[in-house]
Symmetry: C2
Subunit: 210 residues, 2 copies
Amino acid sequence: MPDDSSHDPQELPHDDWRSYGPPQLPRVLESALSAFAEQGYHGTSIRDIAGGAGLSVPGVYHHYRSKQEILLALMVSVMDELLSRSRAALASVSDRPEDRFDVLVESLLRFHMFRRSQAFVASSEIRSLDAENRDRYVRLRDEQQQMITDIVSAGCVSGDFATAYPEDAARAVATLCVGVASWYRDDGPLQPDQLVRRHLGLARALVGGT
Amino acid sequence: MPDDSSHDPQELPHDDWRSYGPPQLPRVLESALSAFAEQGYHGTSIRDIAGGAGLSVPGVYHHYRSKQEILLALMVSVMDELLSRSRAALASVSDRPEDRFDVLVESLLRFHMFRRSQAFVASSEIRSLDAENRDRYVRLRDEQQQMITDIVSAGCVSGDFATAYPEDAARAVATLCVGVASWYRDDGPLQPDQLVRRHLGLARALVGGT
């Protein structure tokens, strides 16, 4: 695969899951991200993407066969980053469900504060993925959801959490974290650490934690 | 204003806020809703909207001056329905914050179960509203959010609820309800009443209720 389109799921060093620099996307995907976020997938042409990337249209086709392939690469890269941060966060703590819950929620919150366009495009353009690509994306999303559900279930067994419906509670936790992308602003009244603390409290309440 | 585009904010009879039939939209807006939900605002032409409505392009322009005017009318009609159901729900109960919270959350949950396309288009196409139209839409959305915040704050005063951050908790409650639109399916495992019960429990947990 040509350099520009390659995106290896990276395993982050365990202490890096909290740090966010600018997203490291190949320039075609960076251009596609901003075009899809502004005009949506169907409102964006390959010409728009090429223009934003400083490439010719054939230059884009040199890296990707179609707009659909660009969308898939972008959405997979978003999930790869989310999943690798989640795994790094979990690898940084003990096996206690309470600790695992806290770092996973914190990681999800930070991702949705600092990767807002990515989160918006990923959630709004699932509709635009072809059936096969959608399955692939949804498997990654389900993997992330399952991480939360497993920890909530383990916490119910250990007595850390108390909810009669671990799966519903785990989905509500994900919804809470994902929702941050729709209202958080860098210049808003809540500082990142403050937001994390308050929403960690809300997430614990959802699973009947203390 | 011509008949097809008129949409008076209706006050629902107090016992009707739980009932959902098919949405009563003028046919241009119904066509626009389904096109925007599938292809987004920028991926949809007036021709697409006309086709879906069984009208000619001039036929659409007879009712609306522009695609932007159609988007605004659609988004305002979505908020009008949401707000009028919320008001009807609140008018059906006493002044106790706990009762008011429960019916308002139930109404928001049902809306997001039965008006999924509307909720999706409203949240994904705020970006496509011109500045002035966006302000108008956001004021309606803020009005809905304020209803929740006021009840949560009143509940903190009365002792029904216990949260140090009523505003954050109220936003999390809205997020929980809105999120239902992204996963609820009519043929899914959760029956509507069951979903309402479980998510009412989650919403109460967010505000420190019992």
